[in-house]
Amino acid sequence: MYPLKYHKPAALADAIAALGAGEEAKVLAGGQTLLATMKQHLAAPTDLVDIRGLSLSGISAAGGDVTVGATTTHAEVAASGEVHPAVAVLAAGIGDPLVRNMGTIGGSIANNDPAADYPAAVLGMGATVVTNTREIAADDYFGGLFTTALEEGEIITAVRFPNVERAGYAKFKQPASRFCLVGVFVAKTADGARVAVTGAGEDGVFRHEGLEAALSANWSPEAVEAVTVSPDGLMSDIHGDAEYRANLIKVMARRAVAVS
C-alpha cells in the first residue's frame, strides 16, 4: 500500500470536509473492496475518511418502509427481522463471515460491482438511496459498471426499502469468487412485478421487462417459463457466456418466485 492519511470523523459535516480537503480522498466503510484494491496498488487514495464513527448503522422500520443505515453490515442485515426476508437472505449469501461482518450496504452499492448482490435488492425492491444531500430512486441510481449517480464527495447515509407484497432472491454463484454469476431479485409490488438481474448485464444490474410483464400478469414460477431471455447485452467470461447467463436468469427467476 502507498502511504496515506487516515481520518475517523465523528460528524457527517467533518467527513464531508475531510473528503473535500484531501487531494484524492475516499470514503472508507467496511474496506472489503477498497482495501483489497489498495493492497494491489490499483487504488492510491491520499486520504481515507472512515465513516464508521458517524452513527450511520442500524435498521429501523417506519410507515411500512425499512431504513438500513449505510454502514450497517451484511451480517446485521442478514440477522434482521425487520428487513424483508428476501433481503436478509441476500445479505446472508454475500461472501464469507469476515466479509459479512465488515462489509456494508453503503459500500456495496457505492461500489456497484456488476456481480454484487445488493444492487439486485435495491433495484428489485425499488428502494431509495439516501445521501447527505438528496434522495435517489433506485431506478435513477445505478449507472454502468462500477458507476452510480453519486457525485464527488457525496456520502450514502441510508437505503430505504418500501414495503412489497412478496419478494424472493435466487443467486447462482460464480464458482471462484462466489459473487453472482447471475442473481435475480423479484418483488411483487402494488404497481406490478419488479425483476432485477445482477451479475449478468454488460452494463451492470438491470430490470428485465419480459419477466416483469409475465410476473405482473401471473405471479408464479410457471409464468417464467414462457418468457424468452435474450443473451444480447449479457456478459461473457470464462465462467459463463451470454447464452448460459440467459439460461440462468430464467432458472433463477423461477426459483426466486418459488421462494417468495
Partner: protein, 780 residues
C-alpha cells in the same frame, strides 16, 4: 497407549500450527534486514531494450536496484532442468537459457527483470513500480498445440518450432499391429487442465551474507533444502556448498511447487552479498499465480484396442505437454518417466506406445504438481476404459476385472515392474462400500427430484519413491534418489532423528516418531524429528513423489538397525549375557527369560560414559544410514464417485465418494486418511473447478482467487475412505506411500460419473456448471 504402527496418534506438530506458533520463513527476522521487490514483465514476450532505475534509486530508503546484466556479470549461472531427456532421434533436449533476472528478453507475464532492495517491503514495492523498463513487445503463444504450429512465435532460439524434445516409449510397430487387428478400438482426445498449486504459504526467502566468513545462509520455503543447496552451489555458482547453509523451517504446503529453485531465491542470495544487507522476499498471492510452477497442461489423443473377449490388445498415446517459458528443475521427467511409464494402469497390456512432445510457450514454467505425470496417465487410462466400456456395452467394473493384472511381479511394456497388488480386492471393497448394487434405485429416486445421477470408477495405480538411483541415473536424472537418516540416542536415552525428508504438512514429526518409539519401547515424547537444515542433517533428497515413507522412513529403519545392534552389544557386555538373548522391550533392554535388565537410558549413559564398553567399541550411540530403494512402490486402488447433476444449471454435486486404497503398511491411519482427503480435494478441484487460463496474448486471466476456483469445504463430500492392503516387499516397513493417490485417482472417477449422469462423454475438465450445462445441451 500404543503409539506404534497402526495407531491414530494425534499430530505432534499441530499444537504449534493451530495456535499460530509455527515458524515460517517470513517469520524470520534478522539484523540489517532489507526487502526485495521484483520488477516483472507485464508482457508475455518482449525484448528488454533498456532499464531506467533513476527514479527508484532516488527514493529515500532504496538501497539498490539490480538487473540481469549485473547478475550474469557476477557469474550467477542459468537456471537448469536437472533431468536430461533424449528425443527419439537421439538428439538432446533443447533447453533455452533462463537467467534469474532477464537480460535481453522476457518470456512470460511475471518474468523478473530487475529487483529493488529497500528498507521496507512497502517501499521496495513502490520503488519497483518506479523502475522503467523499455520493452519491444513480441508476438506470444500460450497454447502448446498452437506453439507447435508453423509460424508460431519462437520462444527460444535454440528450440526450433518450440519443440524441446520429441520422445517415445514402447514398441510403435507392435502397438500399431495390435490396434489394426483389434475387434474394437476406442479413441479419445483429452485435455489435462493446467493447474496452479496454491499452497497456503506463499514462497519466501531470507538471505544472509556473512562477509567475514564469505558464508551465506538461506531460509526458504523448500521441500528439499539439500537439493536447493546443491543446485545453488553446483549450477548457479552462488557459493560453494560448505559456504552455504539452507534452512527450510515450517513450510505451509508445497504440492511440488516448492521443490524447485526459483529466480527469487537465487537473486536474494546474490543481492545479500551485493548490498551487504540481509534480503527478504515474500511473494504475495498474485506473484504465486504468476510465478509458482504450474502443473499438468497436456493435450492427448489415445487409441485402445480390444479383442473379441474384451481383453486389451494395444494402447497408443500421443501427448503434447506444455512446459511454459523455461524448463523447470524436474519438468522433463514429469510427462515422460513419471507419466508414460504408468500408461499400463492396472491392466495387463502387451503393447503400449506413447509419443510425447514437450513444448515451449509464453507461460509460467510447468513442473511437478501433486501426482506429477501420474494423474495425467491415470486420467487418460481411466477415461478411456470407461469410454470403452460404454462403447462395448460392458459394465465398466467388469471390463476392468477382465483386464486386471493378477500375477506379480508384473513387467509392463513401459519400464515399470509392479511388485505387488490385489486390484480386484480394492475394486470389490470399493463397490461394496459404495453400494453399487443400490445405485439404480438411487438414480431413479434422483430422477424424481429432477436430478441426473451418475456413477464413475477409477482404478488407479501410481508409482512412489522414484528409484533406484542407478536406474533413474540411466534415464537422465541429475541426482540420486535415495534418502539419509541419522539416529542419535542421547546419554539420557531421548532420541533425535535427523532426516533428509522434509515435512511441509505431511506429519513426519508424528509418524517418524511413532516407528522409533515402537521400535525401542519409548514414549513418543522422547523422540524428536529434526529436518530442514543443511547444517544439522547430513544430506537429504527431500519430500515429493510420496517418498518420505517408503524411502525416508526406510533410511531411519536402517539406522535404527545399527543402533539396535550396538545397544545389544553394550547390554550383553554389561549384563554378561549373549547378544542373541538381548531383547528391547517397554523401555528396557533385557536378557530374555531372566530378570536381568538395563533401562534404555542406562544403555545411553553407558555408551557415552564409556566406562564399561566392550573392547574396541567406539563410545557414543549415534548411527546414520543411506537407503536406496530397489524399486518404485506402487500404491493402487479404486475410487467410485457418485454425482447428482442439476440439468437446469449444470451444477454437479458429489453425493458420495468412496475410496479403497492399497498403501501397504499404514503407520498412522488418521494421517493417511488426511492425505487421502486432501488428495481427493485437489483431484476434485481439478475435475470440477480449477483451471489456469491464458488469453490469446498469453496474458494470465486467472491471476487471483476471483477467477481461479479453489475447492472449498462445501464443494466437497464426506469421504468414505477404506483400505485393502498388500505389503510392499521392497522396503523394511512394507510401505507404499499415500500422499498423491487421492489427486491421481479422483479426477477420472468424477468425470466418469458426470458423463454417465448426463449421457455425453464429451466433457473436459474442469466440469464447471457452464461446461456441464453446455454438454447437456449438446447431448440434446
Amino acid at each position: 497407549m500404543n503409539v506404534g504402527i497402526g495407531a491414530r496418534v494425534k499430530r505432534k506438530e499441530d499444537k504449534r500450527f493451530i495456535t499460530g506458533k509455527g515458524k515460517y520463513t517470513d517469520d524470520v527476522r534478522v539484523e540489517n534486514q532489507a526487502y526485495a521487490a521484483f520488477v516483472r514483465s507485464p508482457h508475455a514476450h518482449a525484448k528488454v531494450k533498456g532499464i531506467d532505475k533513476s527514479a527508484a534509486l532516488a527514493m529515500e530508503g532504496v538501497i539498490d536496484v539490480l538487473d540481469g546484466g549485473q547478475l550474469t556479470g557476477d557469474g550467477i549461472g542459468n537456471i537448469i532442468c536437472g533431468w536430461a531427456v533424449t528425443s527419439k532421434d537421439g538428439s538432446p533436449m533443447n533447453m533455452g537459457p533462463w537467467s534469474a533476472l532477464a537480460t535481453d528478453r522476457v518470456r512470460y507475464v511475471g518474468d523478473a527483470v530487475a529487483v529493488v532492495i529497500a528498507e521496507s517491503q512497502a517501499l521496495a514495492r513502490i520503488a519497483a513500480e518506479a523502475v522503467e523498463v523499455e520493452y519491444e513487445v513480441l508476438p506470444a503463444v500460450a497454447s502448446a498445440a498452437k506453439a507447435l504450429a508453423a509460424g508460431a512465435p519462437q520462444v527460444h532460439d535454440n528450440a526450433p518450432g518450440n519443440l524441446i524434445f520429441d520422445w517415445e516409449i514402447g514398441d510403435a510397430a507392435a502397438t500399431d499391429a495390435a490396434l489394426a487387428g483389434a475387434a474394437h478400438v476406442t479413441e479419445i482426445s483429452l485435455t489435462n487442465n493446467r493447474l496452479s498449486p496454491n499452497p497456503m504459504e506463499p514462497r519466501s526467502a531470507v538471505a544472509i551474507y556473512d562477509a567475514a566468513e564469505e558464508h551465506y545462509t538461506l531460509y526458504t520455503t523448500s521441500q528439499n533444502p539439500h537439493v536447493a543447496r546443491l543446485v545453488l552451489s553446483a549450477f548457479y555458482n552462488v557459493a560453494p556448498e560448505h559456504k552455504l547453509r539452507v534452512i527450510a523451517p515450517d513450510v505451509g504446503g508445497g504440492f511440488g511447487s516448492k521443490i524447485y529453485i526459483y529466480p527469487e531465491e537465487i537473486t536474494c542470495l546474490w543481492a545479500s552479498m551485493k548490498t551487504g544487507h540481509s534480503v527478504k522476499w515474500t511473494g504475495d498471492r498474485a506473484e504465486a499465480f504468476m510465478t509458482d510452477a504450474h502443473g499438468r497442461d497436456h493435450v492427448s489423443t489415445a487409441r485402445i484396442g480390444f479383442d473379441a473377449n474384451n481383453r486389451i490388445t494395444g494402447f497408443k498415446v500421443d501427448t503434447i505437454a506444455n512446459f511454459g517459458a523455461y524448463m523447470s528443475l524436474f519438468s522433463s521427467a514429469v510427462p515422460t518417466y513419471l507419466y508414460a511409464t504408468l500408461l499400463s494402469g492396472q491392466y495387463d497390456i502387451a503393447n503400449i506406445h506413447a509419443n510425447v512432445r514437450a513444448v515451449y510457450t509464453n507461460t509460467v514454467p510447468v513442473d511437478a504438481y501433486r501426482g506429477a505425470g501420474r494423474p495425467e496417465a491415470c486420467y487418460l487410462v481411466e477415461r478411456i476404459m470407461e469410454t470403452a466400456a460404454r462403447e462395448l456395452g460392458v459394465d465398466p467394473a467388469e471390463l476392468r476385472r477382465i483386464n486386471f493384472i493378477r500375477a506379480f511381479p508384473h513387467q509392463t511394456p513401459v519400464i515399470m515392474n509392479y511388485d505387488i497388488g490385489d486390484f480386484e480386492a480394492n475394486l470389490d471393497q470399493a463397490m461394496a462400500a459404495a453400494d453399487v448394487a443400490g445405485f439404480a434405485a438411487r438414480k431413479a429416486e434422483a430422477a424424481g427430484r429432477g436430478k441426473l445421477r451418475g456413477l464413475g470408477y477409477s482404478s488407479y495405480i501410481e508409482a512412489c519413491g522414484i528409484a533406484p538411483s542407478a536406474a533413474v541415473g540411466s534415464l537422465g536424472a541429475g541426482v540420486g534418489l535415495w534418502e539419509s537418516a541419522e539416529v542419535r540416542v542421547n546419554p539420557v536415552g531421548t532420541i533425535e532423528i535427523l532426516t533428509g525428508s522434509h515435512s511441509h504438512g505431511q506429519g513426519h514429526e508424528t509418524t517418524f516418531a511413532q516407528i522409533v518409539a515402537e521400535r525401542f519401547g519409548l514414549p513418543i515424547e522422547n523422540v524428536a524429528i529434526v529436518h530442514g537444515d543443511t547444517d544439522k542433517v547430513q544430506f537429504g533428497m527431500g519430500t515429493y513423489g510420496s517418498r518420505s515413507g517408503a524411502v525416508g522412513m526406510s533410511a531411519i529403519v536402517k539406522a535404527m538397525d545399527k543402533v539396535e545392534a550396538k545397544v545389544k552389544k553394550i547390554a550383553a557386555h554389561v549384563l554378561e549375557a549373549s547378544e542373541d538373548d538381548i531383547v528391547i522391550e517397554g523401555g528396557e533392554v533385557k536378557v530374555a527369560g531372566t530378570d536381568k535388565a538395563m533401562g534404555w537410558h542406562e544403555v545411553g549413559l553407558a555408551a557415552y560414559t564409556a566406562h564399561n564398553l566392550p573392547p574396541e567399541m567406539e563410545p557414543g550411540l549415534k548411527e546414520s544410514a543411506f537407503y536406496d530403494p530397489a524399486n518404485f512402490t506402487f500404491p493402487a486402488g479404486t475410487y467410485i464417485c457418485e454425482v447428482e447433476v442439476d440439468p437446469e444449471t449444470g451444477t454437479v454435486e458429489i453425493v458420495q465418494f468412496t475410496a479403497s486404497d492399497d498403501f501397504g503398511t499404514i503407520i498412522n491411519p488418521m494421517i493417511v486418511e488426511g492425505q487421502v482427503h486432501g488428495g481427493i480435494a485437489q483431484g476434485v478441484g481439478q475435475a470440477l473447478l480449477e483451471q489456469v487460463v491464458y488469453d490469446d496474448d498469453a496474458q494470465l486471466i486467472t491471476g487471483s482467487f476471483m477467477d481461479y476456483a479453489m475447492p472449498r469445504a462445501d464443494d466437497l463430500p464426506s469421504y468414505n475412505v477404506n483400505h485393502a492392503s498388500t505389503i510392499c516387499p521392497n522396503n523394511p516397513l512394507g510401505m507404499k506411500g499415500c500422499g498423491e493417490a487421492g489427486a491421481i485417482g479422483s479426477p477420472p472417477a468424477v468425470i466418469n460419473a458426470i458423463t454417465d449422469a448426463i449421457g455425453n462423454n464429451n466433457l473436459a475438465m474442469p466440469a464447471t456448471p457452464l461446461a456441464v450445462w453446455k454438454a447437456i445441451q449438446a447431448a440434446g
